[in-house]
Amino acid sequence: MIKVQSLVKEFIQKDGTSFRAVDEVTFDASHNEIVCLLGVNGAGKTTTMRILSTIFEPNSGKAEVEGYDVVTEADKVRENLGFLSGDTGLYQRLTPREFITYFGRLYAVPEDMIERRIREMSEILDMDEFLDKKIEFLSSGMKQKVSIARSIIHNPPVMIFDEPTSGLDILTSRNIVSFIRDCRNDGKCVLFSTHIMREAERLADRIIMIHKGKVLKQGSLAEMREETNLSDLDDIFIYYINQANGELKVAANEF
């Protein structure tokens, strides 16, 4: 499970001023649940995910993965987490099999288990035909599948996918969406971000809308529909964004 409490992350910009990318973000995600982070570009989704995956340290607040603190127990967090970043680097001259095996060994997964996991993931993600081709010759979709397989080779209980279907064709996207759903059905805790509302509608048990580093709204799609009287997630998202911008304007005028 994931627990995030009043998380803050600030970056120092070139002009010396600080920019708060994540501002008092609080949420949680449980096993058997898919939680979707929604937000415009620069909203703070990726930064939040990177803090959870121990890439960044927060300035304040607390984040836990499977009960382990992301700052003080980073090794334990990484053991329990599969993180698919939007810009995962792949070793171009290795084959997917070698690449996944390499990460499996780094995670200290036994050799027979690695082979079994590769077979399983190859079947689920439809990777059989390119498993032994060099990564440099693979398409974007194939590479994304390899990245996903790499991130979950150690079968972690918590999975974080940062825009897993970005730039992929419809067939590959469907395949990945279906895979994420299967992860949830296997009892895993899944946190993912996307710009594709339809994907969020189909997958998410709960949606967390992030805007300018703050959590704007969180709840199930049904709750949001009820509150806004809108059915389409696109409209719901824009409704909340406008509401937040309006509120911000009001606050600015009052000030």
Partner: protein
């Protein structure tokens, strides 16, 4: 990071390296081909230079410009002269009065001049000057042979004499054309 993980990363790096044709070529194949080629090439050039020198030989003028003419200085002069004469294919002749003209006309390959002077403590110092044409292969070869011979014998055979005369091999000087 533990040792096991370091080994895993090392193996992966090696695997990647040996699959990168460009890196393989520049780091392994190219040196393997290039170094023997360079070695063979330089050896051939050196052999050719030696052959040229042996075929043509070299004429060197030995110029005695000593002002302190004691039995010791003259003995050193004679030793140097004899030593230089022992160099194969080199003809050492006493410098004629028109030595500069002959050198300019290319009749001489180098001029070895023995001079003396007083150092700061008023002790006499012997200096050997070699004038040669540094622009050509032959000139360089002649100079190298003369220099190595002089350095070798100055430090070996008449070291004691030189010391008594306050001469140090480091004082040995050369000059270009």
């Amino acid at each position: 990071m533990n040792f096991k993980k370091a080994i895993i990363i090392y193996k992966k790096e090696m695997l990647e390296l040996f699959r990168d044709k460009r890196t393989l070529f520049t780091t392994i194949i190219l040196p393997v081909i290039l170094y023997p080629l360079l070695f063979v090439g330089f050896s051939a050039i050196m052999r050719r230079q030696v052959d040229v020198l042996e075929k043509r030989g070299a004429t060197i003028a030995f110029q005695d410009s000593l002002s302190i003419r004691t039995p010791e200085t003259l003995a050193i002069r004679d030793s140097i002269y004899e030593d230089l004469n022992k160099i194969e294919h080199f003809k050492i002749i006493p410098a004629p009065s028109v030595v500069d003209k002959l050198y300019q006309e290319g009749e001489l390959d180098a001029i070895v001049t023995l001079k003396d002077s007083l150092n700061a403590t008023q002790k006499p110092v012997l200096k050997v000057f070699i004038r040669y044409d540094g622009s050509g292969e032959k000139g360089m070869m002649v100079y190298q042979k003369l220099e190595s011979r002089l350095l070798e014998n100055l430090t070996k055979d008449y070291n004691s004499k030189i010391r008594s005369f306050a001469y140090r091999p480091a004082d040995h000087k050369t000059s270009g054309n």
